[in-house]
Every structure is written in C-alpha cells, then in structure tokens.
C-alpha cells in the first residue's frame, strides 16, 4: 500500500464500496442493519487505531467523544434544519474541538494516567445530558434521518440506505486516514510511539503531534457518533455508556491496534460475537438465569480467547499493510 497513490487507493476503496452496496440489495434488512453497525464500529475503531496504534496514547473515553459528535449532529439538524450529511460534519467538528482541548491535557499524561482520566470522562460526560433541558434528558433527542431518497425506488429499505450512507462515510475516513498516515505526520506519530525521547531529539514537537492525533481521533469518533445517532434514531445518555468505550478499545485490540484495515475485522467480530453467543446459548436452554447470563459468559470466553491467541489482530492481506 505504501507505494500506491491516493488515487489508486480511492479507486480500490470505491470498488469495494460498490461491491458492498450492490451486495446489500441481496440481503435482508437485518443484515443491512448489521452492515451499518459494522461500518460505524469500523470508523470508531479506526479513531482508536489512529490514537493508540500510531501516537501511542490510550483512551477509554471514546464513547463520550461519540456522544459529543452525536449530540452535536442531532442539535444542529434539529435547530438549524440542515441536511443530515452536513450535520455529520458539524458533529465531527464539534467532537474535534472538544478533543483538541482534551488532547492538550492528555499530551501531558502517560499510560494509566491518561486511561484513568478518559475513563472518568466516559463515566461523567454522557450523564450531563440529564442536566440540560436542551439535551433532552434520559429519553434523549430523536434524530430525523428523513426518508430514503425517492429515486432509489420504494423497495429500498431504510436500513439499506443507512448501510449505504455509513459505507460511504467509512470509505471517506479510511481514504483520508490512509493517506494521512503515509505523510510525514504518520511517520512522526510512529516515531513518537516507538521512542518518544528519540523523536524529541530528532526535532519532532512531541506534544504538538500528540494533540493533533487526539484532535483527529476525536473528529473521527465524532463522525462515528453522528452516524450512530442516525442509525439509532436518537441520542440518549444510556446509549453512550462506559461499556461502549470499552467495546471500542476491544475492537481496536481485535484489529491489532496499529492496523487500519484491521478495524473492519474488529468491527465484524464485535457485531457478530453477540449473535454467535446467543445462538450457542439457545442450544443449552435451562433456567432463566442461565439463558440470561450464558451469552455473557460465552462472549467473555471468546473475547479472552481471541486476545490470547491472536493478540496482534488478524494477518491482513497487503491491501492494508503499511
């Protein structure tokens, strides 16, 4: 991939996107919904890959950054009545600004200190929505994604439309990140991650590079949050829990952390594990407490086994290797 030009990359990504969108016409709505979930998770995971895999910072608070993006998108769409693709851009931008401020503090902190701070953020921020009437309280704010464009025909389901929108967004994000990472910024971040002291000696402004990474990562997370709001049809504090933040980091580890293409695999695993667990659990049956908790046990076992046996994520074909 290193030697491919941005144009070639775009062509490849567009081709994959076209295949996916064509394929989406042949699956039922449920799969289309899951496809959209995968695309959103892939975007959010790529935000963590950018941050952790490249600049070496850890965040357990990206669920909160998704919330910032989601709320900003919903509010801008509702109050200014703008087209929703534009609201995604506003959601990303607001999350980016927020991430910039957070990044300034984050650049001073290392490892577990940053993890602790972002964890506290993930716990604290979404619940603030209950304090301000404009944020809709516990039941949240609805996101009106309108109808499927009429030129697509009447049998084009809304979930399929969401799939198309999220895939296009994912392609845009992957293309931009891929190109960015092969510029000097990408090289700087890699240098910082592998040896911050040497990077500083080589004249890299470590602090500034880290803040930039945090800002970009937050912007991408904000986009994922905006798309999440569209898919869910609403933003609400309960939709952006600590569990979501943990899920994203899990996906990044499943992706191999420093592997942008792996984000997609991480996202597929995240979306399919609950379904596999439920299917497996339903074979055993038993009392209520067993059927309720068995999927959780299986999910955890699968997760631990995955981390244990493929700790560096899947081996990806050349397409996404650096």
């Amino acid at each position: 991939m290193k030697h491919k030009s941005p144009i070639r990359r775009l062509a490849i990504l567009l081709f994959i996107g076209a295949l996916l969108i064509a394929a989406s016409g042949r699956v039922d709505q449920l799969r289309a919904y899951q496809g959209a979930q995968v695309a959103i998770f892939a975007i959010a995971i790529s935000a963590i890959v950018l941050l952790t895999g490249y600049s070496g910072q850890i965040s357990l608070g990206h669920g909160a950054l998704m919330a910032v993006g989601g709320y900003a998108a919903v509010l801008s769409r509702t109050h200014w009545n703008i087209p929703y693709p534009l609201s995604f851009i506003i959601g990303s931008a607001v999350a980016g600004v927020f991430g910039f401020l957070l990044g300034i503090a984050a650049a001073r902190l290392k490892g577990p200190y940053l993890a602790g701070t972002t964890l506290a953020l993930a716990v604290g921020l979404p619940s603030l929505a209950n304090q301000f009437h404009v944020l809709g309280g516990e039941q949240g704010l609805t996101f009106d994604a309108g109808n499927v464009p009429s030129w697509l025909g009447s049998d084009f389901s809304q979930y399929r439309w969401f799939f198309v929108v999220t895939v296009i967004a994912a392609i845009a994000v992957f293309w931009l990140l891929r190109n960015l990472l092969s510029t000097r910024y990408g090289r700087r971040w890699r240098a910082i991650r592998s040896n911050p002291t040497a990077a500083a000696l080589a004249g890299i402004n470590v602090g500034r590079a880290k803040v930039l990474a945090f800002t970009l990562s937050s912007t991408v997370a904000g986009l994922a949050g905006s798309l999440f709001a569209m898919l869910l049809g609403l933003v609400a504090p309960l939709a952006f829990t600590l569990t979501l933040s943990f899920t994203l980091v899990t996906g990044a580890v499943l992706a191999g952390v420093s592997n942008l293409g792996g984000s997609i695999v991480g996202a597929v695993v995240l979306v399919s594990i609950p379904e596999l667990s439920n299917a497996a659990a339903s074979h055993f049956g038993g009392s209520d407490k067993v059927t309720a908790n068995l999927p959780g046990v299986i999910t955890s076992v699968l997760l631990i086994a995955t981390v244990l046996f493929i700790p560096n994520g899947p081996k990806m074909p050349k397409l996404s290797r650096q």
């Binding site: 949240g140 869910l232 309960l238 209520d288 309720a292």
Partner: protein, 434 residues
C-alpha cells in the same frame, strides 16, 4: 472475507425468502405476520442482565407463566401464545438490535411490555415504519400516549406526572403544616414528577436531586441525609427506583432518623419484596412508610386478582416469590390476552390496535384505576391508592385492609379526583371471556 460473507448471506437470504414465499402462498390469504393457524408470536425486551436487571428480570417469566396457563386452557381462539424474550441490558442501542431481531427475524405479531423510556424511544422508528403494535409499555413517561408520534403504542402505567400530582394532593390533605423534603432522580423520571408537584402546588423545604444509579455510592447517600437534617424536614418524599429507596432507608438508619421522619414512597421504588432483599435485617426500618400504588398489594390475600395470579404463579412459575414484578408481568399478560381475543378470529395488527381503542377500557385488570383507551386516547391507568408498609414490607391500604380510596387525574392541569376504587371482576379462573 467481508464481501464473501455478505454475498453468501445474500444467497442464503434469497433462498429463505423464496421458501418463505412458497410457504406463505399455501396459507390462507389473511395470515398476518407472527400469526399462524395455531400460534401467535409476541416479543418483549427488558434488562435481564446488568445493573438495572434485579427485579425487572422476574417479569418475563411471570408473563410466560400466565400465557402458559391460558395456552393450557385452549389458548386464544385456538391459538397458542408464544413469547420471545430478549435481554437489552437497559441499553437503547441493544434494545434496537434485539428488536430488529424480534421484528425482522422472529417476525413477532406484536411487542408487549417493553421496558424503559429511552429504550422504547430507540425502537419507535422501526415500530412505526413496520406498523407493529407495541402494547402496555413498561414506563411512566407520559409522552408515549401521544398518538401522532406513537400511533401503535399503548402505555399502561399511569405517568410520573400523574403520580406526583396525586401525591401532592395527598400531602396537602394529610400532611399540611409538615416540613417535607423531596428526593428525586435527576432525569425525565424526576422532571416529570417535579412538574406534577408544581401543578399540585406542593412546597418542599428541600429538593434533593440525584443522578440515576449514583445511589450505589456512599457519598451520595451521605449527601441526602445531610441535606434532610439541614432542612429540618419531618417528612421525606422519595421519587426514585427501588435500590435508591433501599439506600435511603440505610442512610436514615445510620443517622438515627428512623421513626423521626415519615417516608412517602413513589410507586417505582416501593416494592416490598425487592426492598426486603436489598435491606435484609434493616427492612423493618421502612415499616410505617406510606407508598403510592396503582396495583393491589401482592400480599393482599383477600384480593381476587392476587389470589388467582398467585395460584397460576405456583403452578406455572416454579419457585418464584410472588411480588410486584410478578404481578406486573401477569397483569400485562392478562391485558394482552384480552386484546388478542378482541382482535378477532383472524387477528391482524390493525384489528389488534382497533380492539384496544374500542374495547380496551372495559377489560379486566388488577389495578383499581380505570383505563382511558379510546379512538382518541392511548392513556392507560390514571390513578393511585395509598398504603402503609408493614413489618413484612407489604403495603396495606391507609383506609384499612381491602378498602381502597383511589385518586385519579391526568398528566396535565386537570384536578385530582378522590373516589372509592372500583374495577371489573376477575374473570372466572382468571381466563378472560371478553
């Protein structure tokens, strides 16, 4: 890999669709989604795991028990009711995911008793676009009665605003001149309540909000008690969930305030059995508290609904302690059976909704409150009675056992009306014949 998976899924799905089309064409023309000649499939989502699960996780088994009982007695118009239960861990995004499964994969006829405000909000777009009836949702958020926004949704429980207004009336009737403090959950649940209290004109010496789920932290409970002491309140209104009521009882005990302040509990947080599990040996600390309820007390052995449901619970819900959650489950299930019966010999989603709108207000249910269902209203219950918690944690009417005074009102500015409670009799053997 990703592409391959989808294409495979596509071919498989196409095959399934083709097969389903063949099967469908063999059925009578009127077959509705989720209804066959011998079965009706329903779905419910609620938290079975996670911090919100305790208590609520008893509801689906109780619903199933009642449906099993009806099925064993011939079902609904010859059809057996099947209930598909999904865990959403109280997360709206999980609610949407599992509701997708229920509607698009399991192809349920209707949703019943789905729990949570944000959770129901998250599935509204799907439910509306598919025209799926969503019956007797388990939340007190008054907004779901809006027929324009939620045309297929029917709330059952009275709204939080209704409850607060009624409690305000009760306070001014019985606690005039007392110094009353209010503890409330700082979200829509509490905001709705504040609105109701302000309509009722209730004044508090202290209003103490708390963030949902923060009652698990000792500092938060400490803050409640410190504020109560500082305000000099002799009466405390608790408008929170059961675990918050339990935490408050513990906090008052610690401060030596048991017996010195009168507790008044909202219906959400006053289930005696759950509180007993929470408080253990401290449970008697709640004795003497006043609690608002719309259903009869689960311990009232003289109530015909309770005795009948208890009998069904013993036979079909092995080992479950009969508490308010079991009662809610059974009552919801009985309402559902009446709705399905009224929907006709070949029920459709439209006929089900029509049935509730035209006949729902006459059906038998355990609550003392009337039901306000009509072609112009989707509001369910509107009334409460007040009971005193005994040492066993169960409420006995303040007017004496078996005597219930009902307070009814609306979610808006209407007056609170006091009347003797009346409700339709329990159908023979608990089997509706509507």
């Amino acid at each position: 890999m990703f592409v391959q998976r989808r294409t495979k899924g596509g071919i498989f799905a196409a095959a399934v669709v083709a097969a389903a089309a063949l099967v469908a064409s063999a059925l009578p023309a009127h077959a509705e989604t989720g209804v066959t000649s011998s079965t009706i499939k329903l779905g419910v989502t609620l938290p079975l795991t996670g911090a919100a699960a305790p208590g609520y996780n008893k509801i689906p088994a109780a619903m199933k028990a009642y449906f099993d009982y009806v099925n064993a007695n011939g079902g609904v118009n010859g059809r057996q009711i099947k209930l598909v239960v999904k865990d959403d861990a109280y997360s709206p995004s999980q609610t949407l995911s599992v509701t997708n499964d229920l509607i698009l994969k399991d192809k349920v006829f209707a949703l019943v008793g789905t729990l949570g405000t944000a959770n129901n909000e998250a599935t509204t777009r799907l439910v509306n676009s598919q025209g799926v009836p969503r019956l007797f949702v388990n939340t007190g958020f008054s907004g779901f009665a809006d027929m324009k926004k939620y045309p297929t949704t029917f709330p059952l429980f009275p709204s939080y605003a209704t409850e607060a207004k009624i409690m305000g009336k009760y306070l001014s009737d019985n606690f005039a001149g007392h110094k009353v403090a209010l503890i409330y959950q700082d979200d829509d649940f509490g905001m709705d309540a504040l609105k109701g209290f302000s309509t009722a004109g209730t004044t508090f010496v202290a209003k103490i909000p708390y963030a949902a789920l923060s009652q698990a932290d000792p500092s938060v409970i400490g803050k409640w008690v410190t504020s109560i002491v500082a305000s000099g309140a002799d009466t405390v209104v608790m408008f929170g969930v059961t675990s918050a009521t339990g935490a408050l009882a513990g906090g008052l005990y610690k401060a030596g305030l048991i017996g010195k302040v009168q507790l008044i509990l909202g219906s959400v947080g006053s289930d005696g059995t759950t509180l007993k599990g929470l408080l253990g040996p401290l449970a008697p600390a709640l004795a003497g508290s006043i609690a608002a309820s719309f259903l009869p007390s689960p311990s009232d052995a003289t109530d015909e609904y309770i005795t009948q449901f208890k009998a069904i619970n013993t036979q079909y819900n092995a080992g479950a302690t009969f508490d308010n959650n079991v009662l809610v489950g059974m009552n919801t299930a009985m309402m559902t059976v009446q709705a399905l019966r009224a929907a006709g010999m070949s029920p459709t989603r439209a006929s089900l909704i029509k049935a509730i709108e035209t006949k729902g207000s006459t059906w038998a249910s355990a609550a003392f409150s009337p039901l306000l269902y009509s072609a112009k209203s989707h509001v369910g219950y509107t009334g409460y009675w007040f009971g005193k918690l005994g040492l066993d944690g169960n409420a006995v009417s303040v007017d004496g056992p078996g005597k219930y005074t009902l307070y009814t009102t609306d979610s808006g500015s209407g007056a609170v009306v006091k009347a003797a409670a009346a409700r339709p009799a329990m159908p023979a053997k608990g089997l509706p014949k509507n």
